[in-house]
Symmetry: C2
Amino acid sequence: MRTIERVADVRAFSRAARRAGRTVGLVPTMGALHAGHLALIRAMVRRTDAVAVSVFVNPTQFAPGEDLDRYPRDLDADRRLAEEAGAHVLFAPPVEEIYPVEPGVWVDPGEPGRILEGAARPTHFRGVLTVVTKLLNAVEPDWVAFGQKDAQQAVLVRRLIDDLLLPVRMWVGPTVRDPDGLALSSRNAYLDAAGRRAAPELYRSLLVGRQLLEAGERRAGEIAARVRARLAATGVLRPDYVAVVAASDLSPVDPVAGRVLLLAAAVLGGVRLIDNLCLEVRGDRVAPSEL
Amino acid sequence: MRTIERVADVRAFSRAARRAGRTVGLVPTMGALHAGHLALIRAMVRRTDAVAVSVFVNPTQFAPGEDLDRYPRDLDADRRLAEEAGAHVLFAPPVEEIYPVEPGVWVDPGEPGRILEGAARPTHFRGVLTVVTKLLNAVEPDWVAFGQKDAQQAVLVRRLIDDLLLPVRMWVGPTVRDPDGLALSSRNAYLDAAGRRAAPELYRSLLVGRQLLEAGERRAGEIAARVRARLAATGVLRPDYVAVVAASDLSPVDPVAGRVLLLAAAVLGGVRLIDNLCLEVRGDRVAPSEL
């Protein structure tokens, strides 16, 4: 597997592949690869002929005071894991390759980028959509993969692709969880032993919401309140938001119907955790759905 | 020459050309083609093998109350002119092809989009950069051409291409003028006979600014004030802004030095006109420059 640092080189790789009749897949990551990333890489390996994994801790999606400096970085481990999963190129540009000058033009997600995670992190999704646009323009892939774990990000990136007519197809891979239910996240590394034991309560609280839906509850506010109460009852998870929204565009749904996301964010010992379930609600029936 | 209405079809045209080893040029226009557009088309014909001219009156760059509804449209004439100039495809999408849903994600030009034209038209350049991104993603050209007449637009599009790593090269064609100096613009059609006679005063006022520079004046404010006074002295042109800025990023330059734009906007009988000169100022020397 090649490691590439320059935009011009990764574009040359991609164009050479396409000229040879091969399709190109991209898995954008911030590194600290875990089994969730590896599932995305393998999905791209199945769908495309030449797979690039980008590792770039994007400064513009972190606000001042967030964890940019301590975000976990281990490029050697990432390289080994990406290669084992079947990737052909690791694209690991230095910051100045992606941001040669102070960013001037931004890709703005609009209102859906200012709710939920965007309410807590106002410039986060502007940074995400801008860097995703840059990475897509650098690599020019046929397919790009994102994880459902960051559901709002996935919805906004899909909207980016649709709205700006970006010539790429998107794959959203299901959330990969530890056996106790905790969604894999590079930020789980911040948890201490007690935090790690408590963290699966976030997922279990979401399951309470699903059970309510399965029992016939359709009031979005009631479901959110019950999930929030379950989180608060842990005594260690401090709920930020809990919401039920349309999976297509994150708009409110009340009564709950159609393909929905049940989303929650909570802070556990200073570590912010997010998780979600994507569910298809049709009449009496509630079934897991893909995002 | 083919006329294409669908994004999928123009992308297929472009990809087929590139697969055959040909380069692709794009001239984005709002139609009502004049000799300025035709010079851009011919420049693309010289530089690339397959040239698409887009004709799309982009609603998102007009504010409510502006001239979207009366903007001149004549697709048959545009088709004839584009073909005579050597274009291979006229891409004339209906609005719903470019905006299938209400725009959600915007490409935001930042501060340089909020000065000069952007001060008078606050959402204008957001609409321009968003539609240019869409057109570039639809056509995927190797080269794209813009006119210097809309200098702020050209500077912002260049910034867009650089900032978002768009895989395209940009050609800025010099302003084409009528023999009396008036810069060609589709909006000149709005002028009545008296307005048309007075309109070249905008260009002549800019020449006053150039003469001041040639005579050694380097104070940006003094040059702008003298050009503004010259415009006002016409009695018919109402000056909006007059400014001398860096051609690279539209930032203020005082004293004037380097590659600069001398820009002016004025209203003449209800018609808003803009024009500019691009000049290289090095010590005592003042020379015309390309944008």
